[in-house]
Assembly symmetry: C2
Homo-oligomer: 332 residues x 2
């Protein structure tokens, strides 16, 4: 293994994937700050829209590591960090590099522009994975180059573009993914399959999505609540995918969740971030329409019902999720 | 993410897992050399018995990176590296650290002792994951401490012990693992399922194992050759697990592989490194006896036959294998 630009970019990617989808409607982004000897000073990721961007968190933590000054430790007030870091850092970052999976933003959205912060700090080098596909935010690399900073583009470009895929899709209209939990051997029915860490992720994502689509058969059989009780947030609006709304028992708990709208659909929503949960029938019916499959694999073999139907994917990301595996698969 | 001893040890672990089982009868071991600022100078892993240990390869590559001297580049002659590195390095490593997943060996086996090399190079610090369970090779940490080197033990100990599990088991007698290739939804029959990179790994491991156990039903149905054509080495001896040897057609290709012994068994071999390949019936029959399941998951959903039976695992390692996922699961 050679320690190179790709190595640092892969660290940034790995961190960014931890927050994939949770940053909606922002893109998932990761950043790494390295010192003049090539040591990793910090790794950061954008965690939630309205909170600091990846670059800002990585710079904050590099500042703390280099100076020992804890006055900004844990601070996630973007305005404050953008204002204070240049005052405090002086020439601290002149011989440092920052790796970012996505071109630093160049506009004032919910937070000030990251390209401006990096310029003010006078970083020695900026290494970028993907260029910003959003014309509103783009131009960061050009700003940095104009400021005389060495900018390298396209490191781990394909992997950075993969990280950006959901963002690109929902910006164009819709990102639609199927969430499935199974045993190793593909069994999806019976008792709860995935571990608490995996279910916690599902609940966190349910807080962010525009709509949760659930198969009618799953509603009838499992009578799920589909709330966010493990994370404490507002449960999503639910769209029950069925041609037979009258067959659904309206007294089941999912209809009783406060502030939730429930509707019956026979066509998928056309906008936003949409998650589908369901069983074999729902997968078979909707598999051609999905952008991605988020798959939790629990580490046991058991008896039960599986799912099938022909469908090819590419593995964009994999990680342990508690005791389970989590795979993020792009539909082909 | 905090860059710490654990971070460097996890890098060493990740590299070591690439060669898990391929180092038989030696343990899989990884090593990382870091500089005085905490920069990663090199990452190495033991690749094959008789070849240099992880520490030696990592030190070789750190030496090259630090000096630019290419005279030892690609050299995998352990004797030569042990002799030349101390002569060439002088005080180069006095302010460097080395992270090793397993206590550096302290005896002369097929190669000289790594603890002696590290002592002669005068490393500033040695960080160890697992202590050597082999009394013959142990004592490296004590030697280094006696030489005045700072030694830290037990970093990522649980993960390092997991890496060592096959070695510990085969040292006590036998490490028995089931290899399975499936689609996401658990289908194991039909055309070739795993990608070339995955099959190449299987062929590389077939060169190392003491015995390949194959289910009688798989032999009858698939008529596999079970050779190492993708890696070019000697195909393993095969033990056909069946109570009905007379039902096996001796004219199929697996009997015609040169220098191969084929036997019929109704009990598993009791010693060495044993791989089982087979289908649902073989898994069901032998699942309680296996130490581990090495699972290749190809990224598609398809129709076909699955497997089942109750069995729990822990995920010890996961990685992309070409287009597939590879999981290394310890049986509970």
């Amino acid at each position: 293994m050679v320690v190179s630009d790709s190595f640092f970019m892969r660290l940034a990617l790995q961190e960014a994937w931890q927050y994939q989808l949770l940053t909606y409607p922002n893109p998932a982004v990761g950043a790494v700050v390295t010192g003049s000897s090539g040591e990793v000073l910090s790794v950061g990721a954008h965690k939630e829209a309205g909170k600091p961007h990846a670059e800002v968190l990585a710079i904050r933590d590099a500042y703390i590591r280099l100076t020992g000054d804890m006055s900004l430790a844990g601070c996630d007030d973007a305005e404050l960090l953008h204002a204070r870091l240049p005052e405090l850092s002086k020439s601290l970052f002149h011989d440092k590099s920052i790796y970012v999976t996505l071109e630093p933003c160049n506009h004032t959205g919910q937070t000030p522009p990251c390209a401006l912060l990096i310029e003010r700090l006078g970083f020695g080098r900026v290494v970028i994975g993907s260029m910003d596909p959003n014309p509103l935010a783009a131009g960061g690399a050009a700003r940095l180059e104009n400021a005389g900073i060495t900018v390298t583009k396209g490191i781990e470009r394909a992997a950075c573009d993969n990280l950006l895929l959901p963002f690109v899709r929902w910006q164009k209209g819709r990102f639609l993914f199927f969430k499935l939990a199974q045993s190793i051997n593909g069994i999806i029915d019976g008792d709860t399959i995935s571990c608490e860490a995996s279910r916690r992720w599902v609940h966190a994502v349910r807080e962010k999505i525009d709509r949760l689509v659930i198969g009618g058969e799953t509603v009838r059989t499992d009578r799920p609540v589909l709330d966010c009780r493990l994370t404490g947030g507002q449960a999503p609006d639910v769209a029950i995918f069925t041609r037979h709304p009258d067959s659904i028992d309206r007294s089941i708990p999912l209809f009783a969740v406060p502030k939730r709208r429930v509707e019956f659909i026979d066509r998928l929503p056309e906008k936003g971030l949409v998650m589908i949960e369901g069983g074999a029938g729902t997968f078979e019916a909707l598999k051609e329409e999905i952008d991605a499959l988020v798959l939790f694999i629990a580490p046991f073999v058991k008896e039960g019902m599986g799912y099938n139907g022909g469908k090819n994917f590419d593995i964009l990301h994999q990680r342990k999720s508690g005791e389970d595996m989590m795979l993020f698969l792009r539909g082909r």
